[in-house]
Amino acid sequence: MSEITKQSLTELVESIKNKKLSSSEVTNAFIERSEKSKVLNAFITEDFTSALDKAKKFDQKPNLDLKLPGIPMAVKDLFCTKNVKTTAGSKILNNFVPTYESTVTENIWSEGAILLGKLNCDEFAMGSSNETSFFGNVQNPIDKNLVPGGSSGGSASAVAGQLTPITIGTDTGGSIRQPASFTGTVGLKPTYGSCSRYGIVAFASSLDQAGPMAQNVKDCALLQEVISSFDAKDSTSIDFKRSHYSKDLTNNIKGKKIGIPKEYRVDGMPKEIEDLWQKGIEYVRDCGAEIINISLPHTSYALPTYYIVAPAEASSNLARYDGVKYGYRANGENLIDMYEKTRSEGFGAEVQRRIMIGTYVLSSGYYDAYYLKAQKVRRLIKNDFDEAYKKVDAILTPSTPSSAFKIGEKTNDPVSMYLNDIFTVPVNLAGLPGISIPAGHDAKGYPLGLQIIGKAFDEQNILNIAFAMEEKINFKNKITDWWIK
């Protein structure tokens, strides 16, 4: 049975289409492995019984023309799933059972996939290590007591640990790409407006995007093809011509111009990251691409900008949790007291901290000094990319400034935790697509990722570059199953 969970999505789809495997066999294999993998704490909610029923039903009348025929998959617990509890990793939503489905998950089920369960994440996707989840830490399958990254930490852990063949996460400042990098998996953050935000628990609405996470680039392309769609229910969804990302995938990137931004060579960057980046440059050159040095002068202002824009939007979005309409309610002496106690008891420390930063930067007398200023700098950051894309087709950078760190290592210093997202945040601010692919290991044997950033709506191009690089890199994830007794 274990062989099944080792297969990629593409292989599983083939096996089901060729009737070598049934959906029930595949679903059962992933459930069995998940049952043995509780130590990872990847799941918040398991939906195994229902998954097996759905698989059985699929097998009775299989529609093999679908893109994900009978494929079981777990999703980040930030996507609303009808009649299945959706918590966003928070106590305040601990009892929330949506009466509707997010567009992205709806797209997935209509292509034949089957929900396995909901995956752990940082509370309201605020975190880079999955340590802010109300439901506890997630273990990285790479090594014991290592964070899987965040906020899509449960998603990354579940893909790397083979508890699900693929998954979806969300990325506001790096929440797909950083955990992908920490777990030796592939994660794509699409262009803002590519995937509908309808039914995704909101964090920072001008930055949030859903995206695929997988074991390889081809699987990632296939899932992106399924989840990306124009949706009238999301006013920022964009109606553009979407490629057949998996069908059009090619490793021919001859003549592509790849930019190397000098500002990403940050102070104190470990030599192994520097070396990895250099290796990446050689790989793309070997593929026939041309390397061009570029400058993104406002890079160092991206994180400070992000830590104004994201908390500001979060404080506004999270105002809805008032203990009245849904979610946790604390008892209070009067209405105001009830609000204040509900939010104090229902939100964890990091979420409260960000709501307070956001409230402050939006408060009377400070709006111009912070929020307006951040929006102006955001324009400069976007302009940097616009300038660069006059000369290059894509940009290559490291995904993170380090490999995965130990649980508890950075929890006492919020700023050091925020620095994790130094290479990923500018991409969200500019609304661009970015993909992280595993590209090597550090001295400890932990995976390291490289990021390819594309022009808006040019997912196909960065998938192609990632695909070509993947072939050259020939990365093997070192999963020892240490958590299985």
Binding site: N95, F96, V97, T99, Y100, Y192, G193, S206, A232, S235, S300, Y301, P304, T305, Y307, I308, S315, G323, V324, K325, Y326, G327, Y328, R329, G332, E333, N334, L335, D337, M338, Y339, E340, K341, R343, S344, F347, Q352, R353, I355, M356, I357, T359, Y360, S363, L372, K373, A374, Q375, K376, V377, R378, R379, L380, K382, D413, P414, V415, Y418, L429, G431
Partner: protein, 95 residues
């Protein structure tokens, strides 16, 4: 600039999150270190830059004014902590 205990209490009131003294003190430290980090933006001259409010610079699409969700009162009320079938119930607000 620096954030003191009084500011934390003011923000806590605006955010409708009650914080006790111990937590408020911790927040003073946390927020000051975050704002020190944010102050970096003051290095830039940006008077003439147009703020970027939305990354997708498209105009909102109009849709026809038709009811799409009907009779969903039950669904809306389903997750409420307290209701009387027709309404959300909250602590008394008038004497």
């Amino acid at each position: 600039m620096s954030i003191n205990l009084k500011t934390i209490k003011h923000i806590s009131k605006l955010s409708r999150i009650s914080v006790d003294e111990q937590r408020a003190k911790k927040l003073v430290g946390d927020l000051n270190s975050i704002f020190d980090f944010i102050e970096k933006l003051n290095e830039l001259k940006i008077e003439n830059v147009k703020p970027l409010t939305s990354i997708a610079e498209t105009t909102l699409k109009l849709r026809s004014d038709e009811v799409q969700s009907k009779n969903i009162r039950e669904q809306i009320i389903k997750n409420s902590p307290q209701d009387n079938e027709d309404y959300f119930v909250v602590p008394k607000v008038i004497e």
